[in-house]
Symmetry: C2
Subunit: 452 residues, 2 copies
């Protein structure tokens, strides 16, 4: 293990090496800083790298470990944060010109919990403006003329490029799983409200999810367990016990998977369709029960529901600032907010009802299987730096708050990553992570972009 470049270790591996004294946090942080030094100019994943702060924290955490003090499972592990997470004393600009230079006075709840469990904030990763769809400067490490996806653009690219072992993103449409799919890494978003969004710049509070980007399912579970749980400061926080995902990972069985061809295959190109079928067949051969399932009627209205809710809630949040400084907003977020300001309350009220109906119907579909299986994206990352790609594959599930995860499953003709998405039942992220870990082990795909 210690023969690897530390920046190639998973969190689990690094945590073991740190605990056993084979590695120091300073060495680990330096390894990522060197990688950033080498790659950042072409990738542009970071809005801010807190070199000094990270090394200082690493030194202190190393000393604590020497004295037998281990804060938690992430002790000494550096992470990236999408630049919409408030970090006390560290610039947080949300990809917006008008937030330039803003330094929060407090940490988002996630950030506070990360620090409590010993994690180190390596820096802030590029986001599209306010986590919407106006492209960030980041490029895809598999091919820098392709988008890394968005809105968690920097987080996806940084993890894929081994600039950090994990990074936080957010997802209101497809903003965590889509960059995961495009960059060949794991993207996981738990149930809505499971991880506190307090101190995270909102786009649409009833649909904003904190998301986790890692290289393995196990690392996602480790991080999830460190930060999930009720937070009274977040109005949408779930006041429910957090399932023990790490225990569930030890307890895998051949899963029952519901393959969703309907709608999702229409949205995917031929290569991704074929690839999804191949993956389904491989999983079947390994013992999974894979059956096609039918979507509830009207399922596709979830796209429109997402659009209306996002427009209204982003407009409600931005209204004051937008009315004064409309010209400072980039075109896509400007159009969304502008549209939201014109929607009558009755329409939004009816749309919220329609979402409840969808939630009930899709929930009952999910009671029949362990997870749903769809393509991970319409195709590989588009060769277009003005877009962040299409969230169509993730958006319906995000709209109703279900846990979902993207797994890297191969490479396309153009050498860029292909992926599948798994969607789980409400509240039982442990089951979804166990299914994902089973698939990950069975498929045994490990993707690494050409970094050197």
């Amino acid at each position: 293990m210690i023969n690897k470049n530390p920046c190639e270790l998973t969190i689990k591996e690094a945590a073991v090496a740190l605990t056993e004294g084979e590695l120091t946090s300073v060495k680990l942080v330096n390894s990522y800083l060197e990688r950033i030094e080498a790659m950042e100019e072409s990738i542009k994943a970071w809005a801010l790298v807190d070199r000094e702060g990270a090394l200082k924290a690493a030194l202190r955490l190393d000393q604590e470990l020497t004295q037998g003090q281990r804060r938690g499972p992430l002790h000494g592990i550096p992470l990236g944060l999408k630049d919409i997470f408030y970090t006390a004393g560290l610039r947080t600009e949300a990809g917006s010109q008008s937030w330039s230079g803003f330094v929060p006075s407090y940490d988002a709840t996630v950030v506070a919990r990360l620090k409590q469990s010993g994690a180190i904030i390596l820096g802030k990763t590029h986001t599209t403006e306010f986590a919407h769809q106006d492209a960030a400067p980041t490029r895809n490490p598999w091919n820098t003329s392709h988008t890394p996806g968005g809105s968690s653009s920097g987080s996806g690219a940084a993890v894929a490029a081994r600039m950090c072992p994990a990074a936080f993103g957010s997802q209101t449409g497809g903003s965590t799983l889509r960059p995961a799919a495009y960059n060949g890494i794991v993207g996981f978003k738990p149930q809505h409200g499971r991880i506190s969004a307090y101190g995270v710049v909102p786009l649409s509070w009833t649909m904003d999810h904190v998301g986790i980007l890692t290289r393995t399912v196990e690392d996602s579970a480790l991080i999830f367990q460190a930060v999930a749980g009720y937070d009274p400061q977040d109005l949408h926080s779930l006041n429910e016990p957090v399932p023990d995902c790490l225990a569930s990972l030890e307890n895998q069985q051949e899963p029952r998977l519901g393959l969703v061809r309907q709608h999702f295959f229409d949205q995917a190109n031929e290569e991704m369709q074929r690839h999804t079928e191949e993956i389904a067949e491989l999983l079947r051969q390994s013992g999974a029960a894979v059956e096609e399932v039918a979507l509830p009627s009207n399922f596709t209205e979830l796209h429109e529901i997402n659009r209306i809710i996002m427009s209204v809630e982003s407009a409600a949040y931005h209204q004051k600032m937008f009315t004064k400084h409309k010209e400072q907003y980039r075109p896509k977020i400007r159009e969304t907010i502008g549209g939201g300001l014109t929607i009558p309350a009755t329409e939004y009220a009816r749309i919220l009802q329609a979402r409840l109906r969808q939630r009930a119907e899709v929930g009952s579909l999910l009671s029949q299987v362990d997870a749903l299986l769809t393509p991970g994206a319409p195709g590989t990352a588009p060769k277009d730096l003005t877009t962040t790609g299409d969230p169509v594959i993730q958006r319906p599930w995000t709209t109703i708050g279900l846990p979902s995860i993207s797994l890297p499953t191969g490479l396309g003709q153009n050498g860029l990553p292909l992926a599948i998405q798994l969607v789980g039942a409400p509240l039982v992220e442990n089951n979804l992570l166990a299914v994902a870990r089973w698939c990950e082990q069975v498929l045994d795909v490990s993707l690494r972009p050409p970094l050197d």
Copy 2:
């Protein structure tokens, strides 16, 4: 017991008499029909009395009982239903001219569950138009020149006048507890979503509660237990286990009560203020711990929150019909719907956020006591048949969905009933009912209007 006129029995008493063969359901129903015959002309509680249907059902239920079959705890007990509950084959007009003659093809979930547990639908009680504030024709049985309150006007008056032992109402502002207070009976509304609202004409779906009007706390608990519980057909139904309220009634202790003088005393007249203080003192002398509690800051914004949400959601439901037939709506509901149609989605979205904040803050207040204690209404029922009175005492709690109950506690100078309101913590209706039962026994007030 059998010496009483059957229409004077509580449900509990009647159920025992029925089971022990001392009473038949036909006799019980006839006793109420006679009372209706005698009183209805002056009280006007009923939109429809299903004389034949009720007697036919009573006969069948009597036969079943003779054969040793008892459907449930309400076997053979006749009840009234506010005329917004869908009843298959029975007119349901929601107090609206434009619904005149409408006969639903299915039962509301509550009605179906009532029938399953052996209850008999005696008829439909008058409601204000669409359960809003335009007065129904009903009069207060304590003094027919006074309002019975609303919107569950007929249900409140019918139970007080012994025309039925219990009736269902609804509450979106104060529409169950206020008529209970004005008519000298018990009004109970559980947690929002606890009793299905499927098949109940909506006024404001995120605040509409099914309410229960009875003469005793125990009867409310009996009925609650028969109809409460998850219903997938109601989008806002709570998917949570129903607490065993009957068991809790057996298990009373001196409660910790939080007296809320702030805001609620400002809303009550001097007589009601003094009365509430006297009741608090009586409860204290009997062993309750009564301490004044302070409301969260901004608590009174709950009135405005209720107004906005009710406007928007009623407008969303009525929009089509209202656009065509505005002139058929009475003035108050017309103003509410008309206003709702002009509210922008961003305002409603921010108001929903504000409600979540209030829910969290008031919830934490309720973790310190077993129940909050307030006046039951601003005063006795107003001498004004054009109004249904002021819901100001109930509205804040309704807006955030908390369980609440109104207890009759005495008579005012004008000979009309006075009341207190108790408000309980989220989801534990059993605790609230146990507190209410303790207060009821300690205070030992039994009110009966001059009927004969």
